[in-house]
């Protein structure tokens, strides 16, 4: 059984450009990739928010209300609902003075069980080390 690990790294602010949104939608598309692969092959994405990218994870986006577009919050929750691994860099969270209470840490409201994890950068570096491909956005 061959599993390839992809690390999606989000380093950009949300909305102004489409970058962080595309990282999320491409990571989530891993759910349907098997149709292109052989039996036993699969893809395992991990999504890492670093630098300014951690601001994507602030709770309470009202992008649908104001602009009629899916919020980054919704994308992050969709990823958690599908049990994708979501890592948020602790050093950057601390730099912006954010608490876990202010971050999108779970998708309980839509029935998700997996939680996002605020981790030291060293753990994100490990995820990069063990990934087969790195996709920075």
């Amino acid at each position: 059984m061959a599993i390839k690990k992809y690390a999606f790294v989000v380093k950009s602010l949300p909305y102004k450009i489409e970058s962080s949104r595309l990282a999320m939608t491409h990571a989530i598309s891993s759910q349907t990739v098997e149709i292109y692969l052989e039996d036993g092959e699969n893809v395992e994405p991990v999504i890492c928010f670093i630098g300014d990218g951690v601001l994507n994870c602030v709770k309470g986006h009202q992008a649908m209300k104001h602009y009629g577009v899916t919020s980054l919050e919704q994308h992050i929750k969709n990823a958690l609902l599908l049990d994708l691994k979501v890592l948020i860099c602790k050093e950057d969270v601390d730099k912006f003075g954010l608490s876990e209470a202010s971050l999108i840490m779970d998708a309980e409201d839509i029935g998700g069980e997996t939680k996002a994890q605020v981790v030291p950068y060293s753990e994100i570096q490990q995820a990069l080390d063990s990934a087969d491909h790195l996709l920075f956005n």
Binding site: S30, V33, Y36, E41, N137
Partner: protein, 120 residues
């Protein structure tokens, strides 16, 4: 010989990142490698047929046709990204495919190297 998958998210003309991706593809193919190119987000502009070449704008339709002709290069656009921008099937340049985003992840699976050029 090896396979390179390039994912590109940057716009045609307005960003030179697509020029980079096309020139890198050409150089890779000339060295005998094969290249899969995935365009998503604003990079789906590359798949629009009927691009006119003016000297004030970087023009990529012709080099792309030459790449298709080598048989060592394929390019696929994100279907939803394209439709959202009003690029339908009959707006698509000959040789360009359209698929959902999982096509890209599958291409990366069998690639020796992946260059993911994020949006801007």
């Amino acid at each position: 010989m090896s396979k390179l998958t390039i994912g590109c998210f940057s716009s045609l003309v307005g960003s030179m990142s697509l020029d980079f991706a096309v020139k890198l593809s050409k150089a890779a193919v000339e060295k005998g490698h094969s290249v899969d190119m995935w365009v998503s987000g604003n990079a789906t502009m590359l798949s629009k047929k009927g691009q006119r070449a003016f000297k004030d704008y970087s023009a990529l339709a012709k080099p792309l046709e030459e790449l298709f002709a080598t048989g060592k290069f394929q390019a696929t656009a994100c279907e939803a990204c394209a439709e959202a921008r009003g690029y339908h099937k009959d707006d698509t340049m000959a040789g360009f495919k359209r698929h959902s985003m999982d096509w890209y992840l599958a291409s990366c699976f069998s690639a020796d190297k992946v260059l993911h050029i994020g949006g801007d």
